[in-house]
Subunit: 473 residues, 2 copies
C-alpha cells in the first residue's frame, strides 16, 4: 500500500518510536511525584517541553501538552473565549477552520452568550483580508480571531502575517491552529494561542500542544485540575510526549529538504492530473500552499467510490465529498471556497514520499476515476447536439427531477440531459442533496454553461431547490 | 527502588507493551478511514472494545475510550449531569470521591444551576448508608449519585450493592468511578455510568474507559465530535487502547491470585506498622478493602519529610498530607473520615509485589519516621508531669501560639507543652493551618486527651481557631 493520507496522521517516526520505548522504562511514573521515578519522569517531561517550546518559538512555561490535537484546539478555543468573555463575545473564525475549531467556537459562543462569525475565503480557500477587516471593524467587541496556518483540506496557506497585523490593530487575540504545518513549515508568529497535533508530524496519537502567550486572558472552562497549569486535565503522558518532542525536532531539522521533495511531487500531480483525467478540478492555491497536500475533484464521480477504487489499486487517500462522511453535507471547506465537491480526493504526502509512488498513482488514477463514474462515457466526448424544434423557445424549460438522489447523481443527470436542451434554453434541476449547491454551479463553470441561480420549491423542505442552468454551447 | 505507589499508576504491563508495539505497526491509522490501514485499525479497535466490554460487563456499544481516566470521569459526570439537567439538578457524591469527580461535579452543578451535596462517610471512609438515604429523600430531584468502587487513598470498599439498590429505589442514575478496582476486583454492577483508567491496571497512560448504559440520559457538554459516539472528542488512540485492553484481560484473569498475595502483604503491614512505629494511626477499613492499599499516618511527622526519607531508603510511596501537595489543605478524604492527616503515607502494591520488599519496607520504616519527626523523642517516652502550682485551677489555660506554623508544628508544640498543664487543665492552641482541624482532635484521640472543641479568634481570619484540649492523663 502507498499511504497518501499523511494529513490525517502518519505512523510514528522511527526516532519518536525509540524515544517512546526508552521513556516507557524511564518515564512511566507521575511527574508530579516526589520520589525517584517521579523525578525522572519530571526531568524527561521538562526536557520535552523545552525542546518543543524551542521549535514553537515560545517559552516552556507558555506550553502545555494535551491528550490530542483536538483537545488542544478545544481547550485553546474554550479557554480563550472564557478568558475574554468580558472583553468581547463575537468570535471571528475563518470559514475554513478545522471542524474542531468551529465546533469548539459554537460551544464557546453558546456558553458565553456570543456569536460565531465566519470570515469568507476566496476560491483557493484563503481568508479574504478585506472582508475580515470589515468583520473586525463591525460594532461589538471581538473575543478572539481564529485563523489556521494553512488549510487542512486543500493546503492553501493563510496570510498570517497580515492577519496578525489586523489582530494587533483591532487588539484582538489571534488563535492559530497550526496542525497542518507544524514540523513541515516555519512556525507562525503573532499568535496569542497556538494549537497542534503530534500525529500530524510523526509523533504518536494522544499528544497535542497548546501554547498560550504570557499575558493572554485565558480561563479554564473545564473541571479544575492542577496538572499542566490547569490547562489540560489528566496526567501528562510522558513517554508519548517525549516521542512527540523527538519527532518534532527531527522533522523540523529536515523540513526544508523534505518540503522541496514534497513540492516537486505535488507540482507534478497538479500538472498531470488534469491531463490524465477529464472533467477534473484541482483546488487550492497553485503556489502559496503547504508542499505536501494536493486536492482535486472529479465531475460525475462519487468520492466514496473513487476512494475505494484507489484503495483497491493500492493507494490510501482521503475525501471531502459528502458521501464519504457520516453526514450528508459536503466538506464545509469546499463549500466556503465554492468549488466542486463530488469525486473529491486529497492526496497528502508522508514524510518519506517517493517519486515512484507518485508516478504509480498517476498511472492508476484514470482507471480508478473511470470506475468511480457511474456513467463513464459522460464528459469523455461531446454529446450530440439535437436541433432545436422549430418554434421551441429558450424559455421552454426542461425539468430534471433529482429529488432524493444523492451526489453525484443530480450532476450526472444534468450532464446527460443538457444535450436535449437547445443552446440558449434553460434546464431546471430539482434536487435536495446539499452537495448540489456546490456541484451544479461548479459543473456549469467547468463545462462552460451558465448557472442562473436557484429557486425555492413550493411545499418542499428548505434543502430542496430548483437549479436553473442555461445552455450556452 | 521498590515502587509502592501502584494506585497512582504502574509501568506498562509486559503483555500490554507487546500489544502496543504490534499495534504501532498495524493500528496507527485513523479507524474512521475507509482504506486498508484504516480498516485494520478499526478491526483492532473493535476487538479491544469487545474484550474490554466483556471484562466490564457491558455491551461494546455502551463503551468508549477516552484520552485518560480523568477525561472518562469528566465526561461521565458532565454528560450525565447535562443529560439529567431537566430531571434533577442536585448532584449527590460521596465525600471521598476522587478529586476529578468532585471538580467535575462542581462545574456541572455550576453550569446546570444545581447543587453539589456530599454524602458523609464513617471513620473508615465508607459512605454512611443512613445519611445517604436521608440525602436522597430530601426534597428536590437528584440528577445523579456518584459513589466510587473503593477509596483511592485508604482502600476501603464502598457498599455498592446497597448503594445501587438505593439509587434504583430513588430512580437516580448511579455513576461509579472504578479506577481503584478495575483489573483487581470484580467489576461492580448497578451503575448507569462507569469510569476507569488504564494506567491503574498496567495499561498505558492516555487511555480511560467510559461506559454508559443504554437508556441513560447522557448529553455532550463538550464540543461536537463524531468519534467514539460523540462522548470522547479526538482520535481514538488505537495502539494504546489495544495495550490497555490486553493488560486488563491479563490482569482480570489473574486478579484473584494476585489479590490474595496483596492482601497477605497489606495485612502484614497493618499489623506490624503500629508495633514498629509509635504514635501511628492505620486508616481505612481493616477487612472490607481492596487488597493492595494500606494507609497510615504518623503523629509529629511531616508527610513530605517522611516521603523523602522513604525515597532515600529506596521506597516510592504517596502521601495525603497537606505539605506534600501544592495546596495547603490536607486530603479531603482524610478530612471527611476525621482521621489524622500528618505524616500520612499510602502504600499501594504493584501487581508483582514481593514479600521481601514489604519486609524491607518494615525494616526501614522506623528510622524513616524518626528522621521525619522534628522532635524525634516526642511521644517515645511519657513527658515528665510537673506538679500543678498550688491554687492553679483547671481553667487557668495555657496558651500555645502556633499561628503561621504549618503541620506538623502545631501538634508538636501541643505534645511538648501538654506536660506543663495539670491533669484536668485546659490548653488552648491558636493555629491557622487547616491541617490542625484534623490533627489536633486526632492527637487527643491517640494520646488519650480530651478535645473540647474550637473557638473563633476575634479579628483573625476564619481559618484561625483556638483549639481547646483538656489534659486527662
Amino acid at each position: 500500500m502507498v499511504y497518501f493520507d499523511a494529513a490525517s496522521g502518519e505512523p510514528l517516526d522511527p526516532a519518536g518510536r525509540e524515544a517512546y520505548l526508552a521513556a516507557l522504562d524511564e518515564g512511566w511514573a507521575g511527574p508530579d511525584r516526589l520520589y525517584r521515578e517521579g523525578r525522572r519522569a519530571r526531568m524527561l517531561l521538562d526536557a520535552a517541553r523545552e525542546a518543543t517550546a524551542e521549535v514553537l518559538g515560545c517559552r516552556a512555561d507558555e506550553l502545555v501538552f494535551t491528550g490530542s490535537g483536538t483537545a488542544a484546539v478545544h481547550h485553546g478555543v474554550l479557554g480563550l473565549a472564557k478568558g475574554r468573555a468580558r472583553a468581547g463575545r463575537r468570535l471571528v473564525l475563518s470559514a475554513v477552520e478545522h471542524s474542531s475549531v468551529i465546533h469548539a467556537g459554537e460551544l464557546a459562543a453558546a456558553r458565553n452568550g456570543g456569536e460565531l462569525e465566519l470570515a469568507p475565503v476566496d476560491v483557493h480557500g484563503r481568508v479574504r483580508l478585506d472582508l475580515l477587516t470589515e468583520l473586525l471593524a463591525q460594532p461589538g467587541p471581538v473575543g478572539f480571531l481564529a485563523v489556521q496556518s494553512a488549510n487542512h483540506e486543500v493546503g492553501t496557506r493563510q496570510p498570517l502575517t497580515e492577519v496578525a497585523a489586523l489582530a494587533a490593530e483591532y487588539e484582538v487575540p489571534l488563535l492559530v491552529d497550526a496542525a497542518v504545518s507544524l514540523g513541515r513549515e516555519p512556525v507562525p508568529s503573532g499568535w496569542s494561542v497556538l494549537a497542534g497535533s503530534a500525529r500530524k508530524w510523526g509523533g504518536p496519537t494522544g499528544v497535542g500542544v497548546l501554547a498560550v502567550r504570557k499575558g493572554s486572558r485565558f480561563a479554564a472552562d473545564w473541571p479544575q485540575d492542577e496538572r499542566e497549569r490547569g490547562w489540560a486535565p489528566g496526567p501528562p503522558n510522558v513517554p508519548a510526549i517525549l516521542a512527540a518532542a523527538t519527532a518534532l525536532r527531527a522533522r523540523s531539522a529536515e523540513s526544508q529538504e523534505a518540503g522541496l521533495n514534497h513540492r516537486e511531487l505535488t507540482t507534478l500531480l497538479r500538472a498531470r492530473i488534469p491531463e490524465l483525467v477529464p472533467d477534473v478540478e484541482v483546488v487550492g492555491d497553485p503556489d502559496d500552499r503547504v508542499p505536501h497536500i494536493l486536492t482535486f475533484s472529479c465531475l460525475y464521480a462519487s468520492g466514496e467510490a473513487l476512494l475505494l477504487e484507489l484503495d483497491r489499486a493500492g493507494f490510501s487517500v482521503s475525501s471531502g465529498s459528502s458521501c464519504t462522511a457520516s453526514t450528508l453535507t459536503p466538506s464545509h471547506v469546499l463549500e466556503a471556497m465554492g468549488v466542486l465537491s463530488q469525486g473529491n480526493i486529497r492526496v497528502s504526502l508522508p514524510w518519506d514520499a517517493r517519486g515512484e509512488d507518485v508516478e504509480r498513482f498517476l498511472d492508476a488514477l484514470p482507471d480508478a476515476v473511470r470506475a468511480a463514474r457511474p456513467e463513464p462515457e459522460l464528459g469523455r466526448e461531446s454529446t450530440p447536439e439535437p436541433e432545436p424544434e422549430p418554434g421551441e423557445s429558450a424559455d421552454a424549460s426542461v425539468v430534471i427531477d433529482a429529488l432524493g438522489k444523492l451526489c453525484p447523481l443530480p450532476v450526472i443527470e444534468l450532464g446527460k440531459r443538457i444535450g436535449g436542451v437547445p443552446v440558449g434554453g434553460v434546464l431546471r434541476v430539482l434536487a435536495d442533496d446539499p452537495a448540489a449547491r456546490l456541484d451544479i454551479p461548479a459543473w456549469c463553470r467547468m463545462t462552460g454553461q451558465d448557472f442562473l441561480g436557484t429557486e425555492p420549491l413550493r411545499g418542499a423542505p428548505d434543502s430542496a431547490l430548483a437549479y436553473l442552468v442555461r445552455r450556452l454551447r
